[in-house]
């Protein structure tokens, strides 16, 4: 490709060009929009479903401004605001050249580290862990944004690195980049947010052409014990402490009951140690009772009658599975899968290594959250606070998700000019 032509094209597509909005990948955008709308519908049910007017007291006729305020103080209203805000942010990202953002990544990285440190001192504590900064109308959770910053940072580092990634010291250095925000998030404490960073780095290294045995060694050292612990923790949650004591695992590699209790409390600080698997039982009842076609919009009994806690945030998929049944749940999984397929196709099509790495990172972030969350809801993994992209209520993660979407669309807009 002659470089003059390239220069012309570059000139044509500026660093910030609102015209890019017309050139986005509409397939990817429609899939994302579909998921976001399903998310809003589900949250509408969570907010105004069958029994949500739980108080017997009559709501005195509110003035228009009061009811307006009330609407936007409810989950649905707020999420609608996040949705609109997210679209705006995604639009800005689409208009901006992602390469500029990548080149600014170290700056973002330092900034987010600063926020993560700040939140340790000035942050408000909610639900036992999960610190946030109170910005008046909006509670900022730096840990959620640190994930996407990490993606940009790794894309910057790995694309700068190029083929040198095969050298183990550069390979190891990328883990150092992850370890710092990871450690800051862990001491918040928010283990699940830290946990989500690990697949990002692993997959981005994998995509950047690192040596497989390096990665294999890391996985054996880190992931296999983690998976074993996870299995045992899940079994513990399912069968309860007493039955767990009677089980045996190969080679005597078995955690003690109290150790598991500690891990569980770490994973879910709000957990009641006395509940003996109450939540995981209710979770399965909720999902299972949806049966084939579900109980209908707004008719979920398990969720609306509060048998399943936190059903508007991390457990939102249970509400979806209860009200729309197997059909609805499978549709959402299918939409996610289609979205990830298309985003990976984009990563493959993008000839710019930095762009494709960025795309891989975004897909990993969303994919890991989506499938882990659904697996938890379906009782396949221990209960941890892992939000579901597009569906879970919560501003910071929602905006982080929209930033991922904007990044992916932005890569698509520019990938053509490198073909």
């Amino acid at each position: 490709m002659p470089s003059v032509q390239n220069e012309l094209l570059s000139a044509h597509i500026g660093m910030f060009d609102p015209g890019n909005l017309r050139r986005i990948d509409w397939g990817l955008a429609v899939l994302a929009l579909a998921l976001a709308i399903i998310g809003l519908i589900t949250l509408y049910s969570a907010t105004y479903g069958a029994a949500q007017s739980e108080s017997i007291e009559e709501v005195s006729s509110l003035s228009w401004s009061a009811s307006f305020r009330e609407f936007f103080s409810m989950f649905f209203g707020r999420q609608l605001l996040y949705f609109l805000l997210g679209i705006a942010i995604a639009g800005i990202i689409v208009c901006t050249d992602y390469r500029i953002l990548i080149s600014l990544a170290p700056l973002f990285y330092v900034a987010i580290l600063g926020l993560l440190i700040l939140v340790l001192f000035a942050g408000h504590e909610a639900r036992g862990g999960q610190r946030w900064l109170n910005l008046g109308i909006f509670n900022l959770q730096p840990s959620e944004f640190s994930k996407i910053v990490l993606i940009y940072m790794l894309a910057w580092y790995l694309s700068w690195l190029g083929p040198r990634i095969t050298k183990i010291r550069y390979f190891a250095l990328s883990f150092v980049l992850v370890a710092i925000p990871c450690a800051l998030v862990v001491i918040q404490p928010s283990l699940s947010a830290a946990l989500a960073m690990i697949p990002i780095v692993v997959v981005m290294l994998f995509a950047s052409g690192c040596r497989l045995w390096h990665l294999g060694a890391i996985i054996v050292v880190g992931l296999i014990p983690l998976a074993m612990v996870g299995m045992q923790v899940r079994t513990f949650q399912e069968v309860g402490a007493r039955a767990y004591e009677e089980r045996s695992y190969p080679l005597g590699l078995k955690l003690k009951g109290y150790q598991i209790e500690r891990i569980l409390t770490f994973l879910d600080p709000e957990r009641d140690p006395q509940d003996k698997g109450y939540q995981s039982i209710q979770m399965r009842i909720t999902v299972g009772s949806g049966q084939m076609t579900g109980k209908g919009f707004g008719q979920g009994t398990q969720t609306h009658f509060k048998f399943l806690p936190e059903f508007h945030t991390d457990m939102i998929f249970a509400l979806l599975a209860e009200e729309w049944g197997f059909v609805g749940a499978t549709t959402v999984i299918g939409l996610f899968l289609a979205f990830f397929y298309r985003a990976l196709a984009l990563a493959r099509a993008c000839t710019d290594p930095a762009g494709s790495l960025l795309a891989v990172g975004c897909v990993t972030l969303l994919g890991f959250h989506a499938f882990t969350n659904i697996a938890i809801t379906a009782g396949m993994l221990p209960v941890t606070g892992m939000p579901l992209p597009f569906l879970s209520y919560g501003g910071s993660f929602y905006l982080a998700t929209m930033m991922c979407i904007g990044t992916l669309l932005s890569i698509h807009v520019r990938k053509r000019f490198f073909e």
Partner: protein, 642 residues
């Protein structure tokens, strides 16, 4: 600034992306499989569990049926509306102290204790906290008047059993209390907290009186405890749980109240009978001789079944416990007319006379000579008249209650005939009255004796001897009957020889047998019993104190020795009184040629002698029933006519 697009990705990139796609596909497939297992394979099980999670069935208790006299104008047991006062902390928020202070003044309760309770319910502010159970009407009025100053205070109405006559006919009414845990296993229709009839009519007619409970099916929030209120008509309703969350009533099945029962009891007569016995212990049966309808069935001392109703009050708990454990030794819970047995004494002679006449062993002209004692082998028995009665026939033997005559008669009859006729006339067998817990009493027989003494006597001594028959002939020995049995026997004498089944539920009778005693026999026995009452000059009849001029009253006295040696010993040790325990006094009477003809049986424990201890009571009752009551009845009838 812009990254160099000439920089190329390494060659294996596309393969690695394909691998990632495969991983995504595999994970998605795994998730879908898992969801299929949960939602399709196990879906129904989980749907059931979701339903039982949320749905509760709340019982609505039925109103217990009322118990009336012969018609609805006389109420024996009804349900009154008991008002329980509750407070909901949420609704009085900010005024807790004033409200509790005012409540303390109005209801004389411990206000600070209530205040503490209210504060303890901070996180369940819609819980109904009981202030005072069963408040009086005056208290309710006061609370209602002050309602503007008592936010969150409201009354819940529930039906509570009330026995309007208190102790009168207490044992007949029976009582209610909460069903026990182990009973619930046997009775699937009952639930924890249900009340069940424990004795008397309440127990006998439990299925009729109870009705059918309804229920309310409600949807609840997690950990929700529904709070029941009553609307202004006293109907239960449900709006919220203890945290103020909505309770959705999905379905409602209203309870069916229990059916009323009407009784044969003549309450003024019953009251009079109990009055006559009061101060001592005893039983009186007044029965319509033609039908078996019981007009009075008195047992004194009695108890007030209302005590069991509000047994949550502290002093009542003690009263109930004292009653159930027979703390005062007076056996108040026991209806002496059907649940206590007494040696019949000379009352037994009526049956003996009928048996001997019916079996053709004696006739109206048969005479025996009484010299005051009767010998058999080496043993001798005395007549109560030490000097003897001289030569007398069956009529005089009944009128003067001669023992010797009946010793002879008993030996002539033999034990088989005595057993046969006892059973025929209703002695020593249950009468079949529609009250629970009736005991049969005992008429000894050779088989009984053999069995009874099997452990302590040799075979010879266990055999039935003629001496045993002699003893039994005048109703002594191990022979024992209930007052109601003697009334049934009495009825047969004046109703043409029919056996009646006594009853209290108006719709449970009458059940009367065909005559089994001949007219001739009855005439002779009636003649003897009439002479017992009417012969006023010396030698007077034993029942002469029951005589009323112008009425055809027949009767038979009885004086039962309190024989049991063990009883004597017990009395001695308890109060140091020497062993001379007064005899029980019996009198059975029949009022003929009246409507209705009455069969009366009176037993006064330790009444000394039937002639003086029991016969005068019969006279009082008969006078009361046929004169005072008759006037009252005609008076009422006239009122109705007007």
């Amino acid at each position: 600034m812009i990254a160099n697009p000439e920089k190329h990705r390494y060659e294996g990139f596309e393969r690695r992306i394909s691998f990632m796609r495969a991983v995504f596909l595999a994970v998605a497939a795994l998730l879908i499989l898992r969801l299929g297992y949960l939602q399709i394979d196990q879906g129904e099980t989980y749907a059931d569990r979701a339903l039982s999670n949320r749905i509760r069935r709340i019982p609505l208790r039925s109103q217990r049926g009322m118990i009336f006299g012969p018609d609805e104008s006389i109420v024996l047991a009804s349900n009154r509306a008991a008002c329980d006062l509750f407070i909901v902390p949420n609704e009085c928020e900010g005024h807790e102290e004033e409200v509790t202070h005012l409540l303390e003044r109005l209801l004389s309760i411990d206000g600070s204790e209530l205040l503490d309770t209210i504060y303890a319910h901070r996180n369940r502010p819609y819980t109904q906290i009981p202030i005072k159970r069963d408040i009086s009407r005056a208290e309710l009025t006061q609370v209602e008047e002050m309602s503007f100053a008592l936010p969150g205070v409201f009354a819940v109405v529930r039906p509570q059993r009330r026995y309007l006559h208190g102790e009168t006919a207490g044992q007949i009414m029976g009582y209610l209390n909460e069903i026990g845990r182990e009973e619930l296993d046997r009775m699937p229709d009952y639930r924890m907290g249900d009340f069940i009839g424990r004795s008397g009519l309440e127990q006998a007619y439990e299925p009729v009186l109870r009705g059918r409970d309804g229920r309310m099916v409600v949807s609840l929030f997690n950990m929700g405890v529904p709070q029941m209120r009553t609307d202004s008509f006293g109907n239960p309703m449900m709006e919220s749980d203890q945290r103020g969350r909505r309770v959705v009533v999905e379905a409602r099945d209203d309870p069916t109240p229990g059916d009323p029962i009407f009784t044969t009891l003549d309450m003024p007569l019953q009251e009079r009978a109990e009055e006559l016995l009061r101060g001592g212990q005893g039983a009186i049966v007044v029965m319509n001789a033609n039908t078996g309808a019981l007009l009075a069935l008195a047992s004194v001392p009695s108890y007030d079944p209302n005590v069991f109703v509000g047994a949550s009050e502290k002093n009542q708990i003690r009263q109930v416990r004292d009653l159930l454990t027979n703390a005062d030794g007076l056996k108040r819970m026991r209806h002496r007319a059907i649940q206590e047995r007494y040696p019949p004494g000379s009352v037994f002679k009526v049956m003996m006379a009928v048996a001997a006449l019916e079996e053709g062993l004696i006739s109206s002209s048969s005479t025996h000579s009484c010299g005051g004692r009767f010998s058999l082998g080496r043993t001798s028995w005395q007549c109560w008249q030490r000097g003897g009665h001289g030569s007398l026939d069956i009529v005089d033997a009944l009128a003067f209650s001669c023992n010797v005559y009946f010793y002879h008669t008993g030996l002539a009859l033999g034990i088989e005939n005595i057993n046969k006729w006892s059973a025929l006339m209703g002695l020593g067998v249950t009468t079949g009255i529609d009250l629970p817990g009736e005991i049969p009493g005992l008429i000894p027989s050779p088989e009984w004796k053999d069995e009874y003494y099997a452990e302590v006597m040799n075979r010879w001594d266990r055999q039935w001897h003629r001496g045993d028959t002699v003893n039994l002939s005048i109703g002594q020995g191990h022979c024992s009957v209930t007052p109601l049995q003697t009334a049934v026997m009495m009825a047969s004498i004046i109703n043409g020889g029919r056996r009646v089944t006594p009853y209290i539920n108006l719709h449970h009778g009458p059940r009367v047998s065909e005559p089994f005693i001949s007219e001739e026999t009855l005439e002779i026995v009636q003649k003897g019993m009439r002479k017992s009452v009417t012969k006023q000059d010396f030698p007077s009849g034993t029942g002469r104190l029951a005589h009323i001029e112008g009425m055809n009253i027949i009767g038979k006295t009885g004086t039962a020795q309190v024989v049991s040696l063990s009883t004597l010993e017990r009395f001695e040790t308890e109060d140091g009184v020497p062993g001379n325990i007064p005899n029980h006094a019996w009198f059975i009477a029949g009022v003929m040629d009246e409507d209705p003809p009455l069969a009366i049986s009176i037993l006064v424990e330790h009444g000394l002698r039937g002639s003086t201890g029991a016969a005068p009571l019969a006279r009082d009752l008969i006078e009361f029933f046929y004169t005072e009551r008759a006037q009252e009845i005609t008076h009422v009838a006239r009122l109705h006519e007007d």
